[in-house]
Symmetry: C2
Subunit: 114 residues, 2 copies
DNA sequence: GGCTTATATCCGCTTATCCGAATATTCAAA
DNA sequence: TTTGAATATTCGGATAAGCGGATATAAGCC
């Protein structure tokens, strides 16, 4: 009878939320992941790119690192962050695609073709 | 010089966050989307499935509807919700895949093969 | 109209999340 | 070992988000 389960097991759901979903729920973290998809970057570089206070950027990077989505490498006093899970960027791109599609449909509904 | 932009335009980022990312940031909404991926369901059915208070389920469904991810159809006194953007479930599945991969790697790092 | 079922909304409350200035830490060069 | 640059962390406060009992609304039935 039961084929595809209708619910995600609670513990998996919990991990999914804590490690991925919640992480993607902040615009700055999205930008950080997106930026890192083009290659490793120092905190400084990311701070300038995002035009945000250094403490804010560092805090978000720490979140990403704690969740294992990003890793660091020291080079003297600078710390270089790089993406561990590139699939995340694919997901971000998918979401952008969905957004575009939704906006297109909204537009369509305003100016019907037929 | 500049090929792929390193940042997502702020207004797009805003919409992305408000309409999709933030939405996926709540476990109950994930479950609702997941459940709806198997077909339209009444609020009642979803309430029983999630084992959550009816007001909670209804509130989350309202959020999903306001964001255009889900739509409703009345049938007498019952309201049936259905998924408008099935791509969302693909994304959820991708995230589950990432999670599995991450856990596998964690495992691996504990018991090295070589 | 009165009653029942189904859904939506309200409201006070609690918790989660983010912010950014200030401060601490780390490292290397002088 | 003092200084400076880069990064991390602390901390108080603001805002957002979620909760669920209670209540309102809507539709159908008798």
């Amino acid at each position: 009878m039961s084929d595809t389960p209708t619910l995600i097991p609670v513990h998996e759901l919990q991990m999914l939320h804590d490690n991925i979903c919640q992480t993607l729920g902040d615009p700055k973290r999205i930008q950080l992941l997106y930026a890192l998809s083009q290659g490793p970057r120092s905190v400084n570089a990311l701070t300038e790119l995002l035009e945000a206070p250094q403490s804010t950027v560092s805090r978000h990077l720490a979140v990403l690192r704690q969740r294992g989505l990003v890793e660091t490498q020291r080079d003297g006093t600078t710390v270089v962050y790089s993406l561990v899970v590139p699939e995340l960027v694919v997901i971000i791109e998918s979401m952008r695609g969905i957004l575009r599609k939704m906006l297109a449909q909204q537009l369509e509904s305003l100016s019907p073709t037929s």
